[in-house]
């Protein structure tokens, strides 16, 4: 068994070496760990819970039945399309690496940066969600008043902790991710069981879950429903983590692909069951949507103060695990992009800690960038305190658009390369969709275009402005410097076997 594992690791290392890269990261993750990291980042207990009020306010109870399922249906197609590419081109750069080899290095460079923007949004959004939930709970326990400032401070402390855990090593993080996956399932079971058997009032009839036409916003229902989709769409992000940890996964061409796809599929099932029971426990939807935190309101109404608080602590810890995994994923993407010299001071971010085998500097850059994004929004709100959007909606919309555009670019380029006869059946990895691939890719792209527009329509237009601003900045960076100086991942192909060996020897190989 151990010998088989070592043989597989050697094969995987050779596969990676063919792309011109040394095996610097520790390859120790099994199939479950790879699934667990994406399942933990999707984290139904983070996205679906923290934006529960958003979904309910805009789409009413029908958002949980229809909205969640419609989004999941299309995200399954996107995940399957990405899984195919991960199987064909298994490197930690993932999206940008796929874009670079399917088209050219400039496509890769833009994909990387757009992915990076989305990753900043997702790490910030997740840890900010944790702070939003934990701060009032801690305020109650320690007798201080929760405010936007205390939330921001707690957010900063959380990021620091996640940075430290990730710095210490992938073994520890992988074990915590494994635990996190079971933890998520366990909390959903406890939550659903509590609501089913101990609710103070009778559950609503099942039809309530699919009740459409009711919105608590000032928008017409059809538009409000679309805006409410942010809840589900943001939840279903971050599953590219299975691809970003591909150089740490044993037999990644199969296991990472399954990790991407199955994390979405299982999140749909468990998320649907959880949202169904929470929504059917609503006593007064108008009061819930008007509450500061709709999810806390519904749980407290149904289960009472103490039980409700206990469940909320459980949910809040799940968000902590989600943040931990998202830092892992983002730092690997940053490491891979820096390895190809795509960002300023790349040499530092591509450095691997010899002691811990982790991209330590990239991890701390992730922490700083994520904090800076939330701080930027905090300052904006100090300047303009009458603003109607929430920090969370801003962060999540930035991450949804950034990530999904980055997911979409390689899918489009793959279709283009296929049409040109460049990407042929022999290029698929073991995990592929055969003749279903093309229609699934096309449907995925249609959804990505649609959702990218929907996510930035008012009242979330600030996210759109922020994204346009960032894109303009990218354009300037590209034209002023990178279009001539970014070597792209193709340059790594010229790395000699001796050089790769030399790099690997630093880690005792």
């Amino acid at each position: 068994m151990q010998r088989d594992k070592q043989r597989q690791i050697l094969e995987d290392k050779k596969d990676l070496n063919r792309f011109g890269y040394a095996q610097e990261l520790l390859r120790d993750m099994g199939g479950f760990s790879n699934f667990a990291i994406s399942f933990s980042i999707i984290s139904i207990l983070t996205g679906a819970v923290s934006l529960y009020g958003h979904g309910l306010t805009y789409g009413g109870p029908g958002m949980m039945g229809f909205g969640w399922t419609i989004v999941a249906l299309f995200v399954l197609l996107i995940a399957a399309s990405m899984a195919e590419l991960a199987s064909a081109i298994p490197t930690a750069g993932a999206l940008y690496h796929w874009a670079a080899v399917l088209a050219n290095k400039r496509w890769g460079w833009y994909t990387a940066w757009i992915n990076l923007i989305g990753q900043i949004g997702i790490v910030a959004g997740i840890d900010y969600s944790f702070a939003l939930f934990a701060d009032p709970l801690l305020a109650g326990a320690f007798g201080y008043t929760s405010s936007e400032t205390t939330t921001l401070v707690l957010f900063g402390i959380t990021l620091l902790l996640h940075g430290a855990f990730n710095h210490i090593g992938i073994r520890l993080v992988a074990r915590l991710n494994d635990f996190s996956a079971w933890y998520h399932i366990g909390v959903v079971v406890i939550l659903v069981g509590s609501l089913a058997f101990f609710s103070r009032h009778e559950l609503q009839p099942l039809a309530y879950l699919f009740q459409v036409g009711q919105t608590f916003s000032d928008q017409p229902y059809a538009l409000a429903f679309l805006i409410g989709l942010l809840q589900a769409q943001w939840t279903f992000t971050g599953y590219d983590a299975s691809a970003h940890t591909i150089e740490e996964t044993i037999n990644p061409r199969v296991r990472a692909a399954w990790g991407i796809f199955s994390s979405v599929a299982f999140s749909f099932i468990f998320g649907f069951v959880m949202l169904a029971f929470v929504t059917l426990s609503i006593k007064d939807a108008a009061a819930a949507s008007g509450a500061e935190n709709a999810f806390i309101h519904v749980i407290s109404e149904a289960l009472g103060g103490t039980f409700g608080t206990a469940v909320l602590w459980l949910v809040t810890f799940a968000m902590w695990f989600c943040g931990l995994s998202s830092v892992t994923s983002f730092s690997r993407m940053l490491y891979a992009f820096s390895r190809d010299k795509g960002i300023p001071w790349s040499r530092h971010w591509a450095e691997i800690s010899v002691r811990y085998r982790t991209p330590a500097k990239a991890i701390w850059l992730v922490v700083i960038l994520s904090f800076a994004l939330a701080l930027f929004d905090y300052i904006l709100k100090r300047i303009n305190p009458d603003t109607s959007y929430t920090t969370l909606a801003f962060l999540t919309a930035v991450s949804v658009v950034g990530l999904y555009v980055a997911y979409g670019i390689p899918l489009y380029l793959k279709l283009r390369a296929e049409a040109k006869g460049l990407f042929r059946p022999q290029h698929y990895g073991p995990w592929n969709l055969g003749t279903w691939s093309r229609p699934i890719n096309v449907l995925s792209l249609v959804w990505i275009v649609f959702i990218s527009v929907v996510m930035v329509i008012p009242p979330n237009q600030n996210a759109g402005f922020a994204l346009i601003g960032m894109f303009l900045l990218l354009l300037v960076m590209d034209l002023a410097y990178y279009h001539r100086r970014f070597p792209g991942p193709q340059a790594a192909l010229d790395t000699t076997a001796e050089e790769i060996k030399r790099q690997e020897s630093r880690f005792g190989k």
Binding site: R18, T69, L73, A103, V254, A265, Q426, W436, I440
Partner: protein, 45 residues
């Protein structure tokens, strides 16, 4: 709407199972000797 909702849920589960089945078949039938690395065959710059 309840019926429509349930059909949608079942459809989503059906799509997930079908894709999973299809991918599993591909993994089982994969022939390494016929596989070609895309990056090696297409060195765009």
């Amino acid at each position: 709407m309840l019926l429509l909702g349930l059909v949608l849920v079942l459809l989503t589960i059906g799509v997930a199972v079908a894709i999973g089945y299809r991918a599993n078949e591909s993994v089982r039938r994969f022939d390494e000797s016929r596989h070609e690395s895309f990056i090696g065959s297409n060195r765009n710059t």
